[in-house]
């Protein structure tokens, strides 16, 4: 209770360290992606291989990109499905 009261007095509007942490988390991901274009390409090819086992996909119009908003960054793989492959038993 008392500590809560103290906290209220000492609280800052924004904690600059939280901003530092968030910015770092983003920039480190980007640093690595920037450095590794070939890795991104390899990843895309591997994903295509795996998905192609199950679906026929349009390899021309697929895209792999990094999306970023305030809280998360995500790897987004977008591909139209042309047909579901039949799987043999």
């Amino acid at each position: 209770m008392l500590s809560g009261l103290l906290k209220r007095f000492t609280r800052q509007k924004t904690k600059s360290k939280d901003e530092a942490k968030k910015r770092l988390q983003f920039s480190l991901i980007y640093d690595k992606l920037d450095l590794n274009d070939t890795i991104l390409m390899d990843l895309q090819n591997d994903i295509v291989d795996v998905i192609s086992k199950y679906f026929e996909i349009d390899k021309q119009s697929l895209e792999l990109k990094v999306k970023r908003d305030d809280n998360v960054s995500a790897l987004v793989f977008n591909t139209p499905i042309l047909q579901v492959r039949r799987r043999r038993a």
């Binding site: 500590s3 360290k17 939280d18 530092a20 942490k21 640093d31």
Partner: protein, 265 residues
Amino acid sequence: MEGKIIVVTSGKGGVGKTTTTSAIGAALALEGNRVAIVDMDIGLRNLDVVMGLENRIVFNIVDVVQQKCKIEQAAIRDRRIENLFLIPASQSDNKDVLSTAGIERVAEDLRKQFDYIIMDSPAGIERGFENSIVGASEALVVCTPDVSAVRDADRVIGILYSRSLTPKLIVNRIEPGRVKRGEMLSHEDVMDVLAIELAGLVPMDDKVLISSNTGTPLVLQNDSKAGQAFKRIARRLNGEADLPFEAPTDRSSMWGKISRTFGLR
């Protein structure tokens, strides 16, 4: 003898590599190990002045690699701490004359003569850094709780991994008061971002500068919080892997102490 070579590195300059190298080296020697500290910051030697051994330099690491002298001739024995030796850097910028094969040969010889060999790496990720990791089997990455040091640490960690080294992290110059106020990244924040194992936490401590002013070993000063922290890191390296981590605390904050004691926070 089959000693361990540990490289201390960081990417960014001025974060505490040299301080860490000399303190951990001294602490490992105090624990009874035979220790060589090697200044790999060729052209910008500092370890000698920090350790107060600058007046006794005859040969340096470049001489050893180039077989102009033996390790025994270049290694300066510390007179205050038994079994502690410094191999200084050269003061001319001739790091490019160091061949990888030459460094490997010296590394092998060092492993035969010492229990621990600590390599103080230069800042950056270029040739001098590469030279300093050649013989290493362990790596310590030093970083301060600020955005540029953490980012550089991440870069270096990536390179170390690609060389099959699994680095551990030292967070240096922690200011508990500022961490508490949310002005400074906590060690947990830094670890979240870097996702590597911790080697130790070192507080900001005025005694660090004072001990380097006079060239006296930090770890001999019992009232130095940083010195004590480095001693704990050395113990962890030296077999006490489970020694718990202690987050630095703010001496001035009485309330913090009381509330921690009673488990209120």
